[in-house]
Subunit: 252 residues, 2 copies
DNA sequence: GTTTCGATATCGGTT
DNA sequence: AACCGATGTCGAAAC
């Protein structure tokens, strides 16, 4: 992980540095200091001149961080063109994105630090506990949802969205299952209700609807009951994975 | 904007640095190098040891960036407790969040750089083109949606969500308006349809539903037509704000 | 604290 | 390229 760095660069010095470093695919380039930042595109934003940390990655993503929060103040998921210039003795960066048309402009009023890191690609990243994983697991073990449940299909398109799990219960009734990896809200109930209505109209028979999630909000549960739908508690993670780190093999 | 920095620190050196710097409220602290990162909480994740950039802000937010993307690989919006230690000669950071219970653990296998920046609070940030702004504007000028429209209320709770704009048309019919600041999808149509159904059942009369957005997806438009609902094109931004930066006063 | 909803959402997958 | 849905969504406002 190589590193190049400048402290308190002048305008033209900063421009040279950025021109050189931003050409490199693996570089993560940062500039910190007092900037003036503008954004215009899907929306538009301005702010007083102040302290920012600019980060540009090798894939063309750009983000400007302020003193707080995980989310950057301004950003671009993709930069298609970068323009560097000096205006009135101040280095200026203009980042352009073609689709949607968007621009971020940074005037480096007082750059304190500019640096570049070589970042190797991230490998072996694994996320446990996604809804996709939960769906796979329940597809293999539908009895976790209900004894006697037989899986018919997954991700069934209905014309108004895809049904997560489509099954038949012990009494032979059709069952539509909507999964949520987190606490289910009214929105999930609406989704389920929409699927049940659609399928019911298509097949011309009674269809059960089950919302399967680790928890439900109170309003969602009330709505479920009003609509004659059901809730089943299903945890997204295997028990061990939600333990404290001291008890986790991961952290051993 | 003060700055403290260490290059290629040893484990205990890094621990001392972090202990000192993380105590300061205004500090934005970064460590770059080869790490091993683990996360466990609502979900869980692992990855191979590799290059990361750790950023911890004064508000307790933490993020770990990889070589690409705006989104960090791992993060914590809030850190309630930080623990620093040395394990087998390697500096280790454990960040804990109480609610929901979550942990991020970073083992600094080969720290290349550690630095701290004093970041002043962001001031004067203004975002133009939010849905809230669009709603205000349309509430003042409902004729933009339709000639003869009279506003009755905004953000009306229905038991299944809030209606953006509630109005009466020239013929005296009730109108439910759903706003979207971007291209409207099937989800927006579904939301609108729910509101129209609910209001219609409550008042016992025919209710019109209008989806007002700068654009609508084709499937969403078809669905609107099937349900007897309407679409009105309404731009989120004043025309000038979506111009190219050369033409923008903002960028002059 | 819980719930809801907007977001320049981002991101990935599928059509 | 458009579209759809999940996200460890985050974040703020309303209750």
């Amino acid at each position: 992980m190589l590193l190049a760095q400048l402290q308190r660069p002048g305008a033209s010095e900063l421009i040279s540095f950025l021109t050189e470093q931003l050409g490199q695919r693996e570089a993560l380039v940062q500039v910190a200091g007092e900037f003036e930042v503008l954004y215009s595109g899907r929306a538009a934003s301005t702010a007083d001149a102040g302290d920012f940390l600019l980060m540009i990655k090798g894939d063309g993503s750009l983000q400007l961080h302020s003193h707080r929060g995980v989310k950057p103040v301004n950003w671009q998921p993709q930069t298609d063109a970068l323009d560097l210039s000096v205006e009135d003795g101040v280095a200026v960066l203009l980042s352009e994105r073609r689709s949607p048309p968007e621009f971020v402009r940074v005037a480096f009023l007082e750059p304190v630090l500019a640096q570049s890191l070589r970042m190797q690609e991230l490998t072996g990243f694994v996320l446990i506990g996604s809804e996709a994983e939960m769906q796979q697991s329940l597809a293999r073990n539908p009895e976790v949802i209900e004894e006697g449940l037989t899986l018919l299909d997954r991700e069934v398109p209905t014309g108004v969205g895809g049904i997560d799990l489509y099954a038949r219960d012990a009494q032979g009734r059709l069952v539509v299952v909507e999964l949520k990896r987190g606490k289910a809200t009214q929105e999930a109930v609406h989704q389920l209700s929409r699927y049940v209505e659609t399928v019911s109209a298509q097949v011309g028979e009674q269809v059960r609807g089950i919302l399967a999630a680790p928890a439900v909000s109170r309003p969602a549960l009330l709505q479920l009951e009003r609509l004659g739908l059901e809730f089943r508690e299903v945890s997204a993670l295997p028990d061990s994975a939600s333990d404290a780190p001291e008890q986790l093999p991961l952290f051993g």
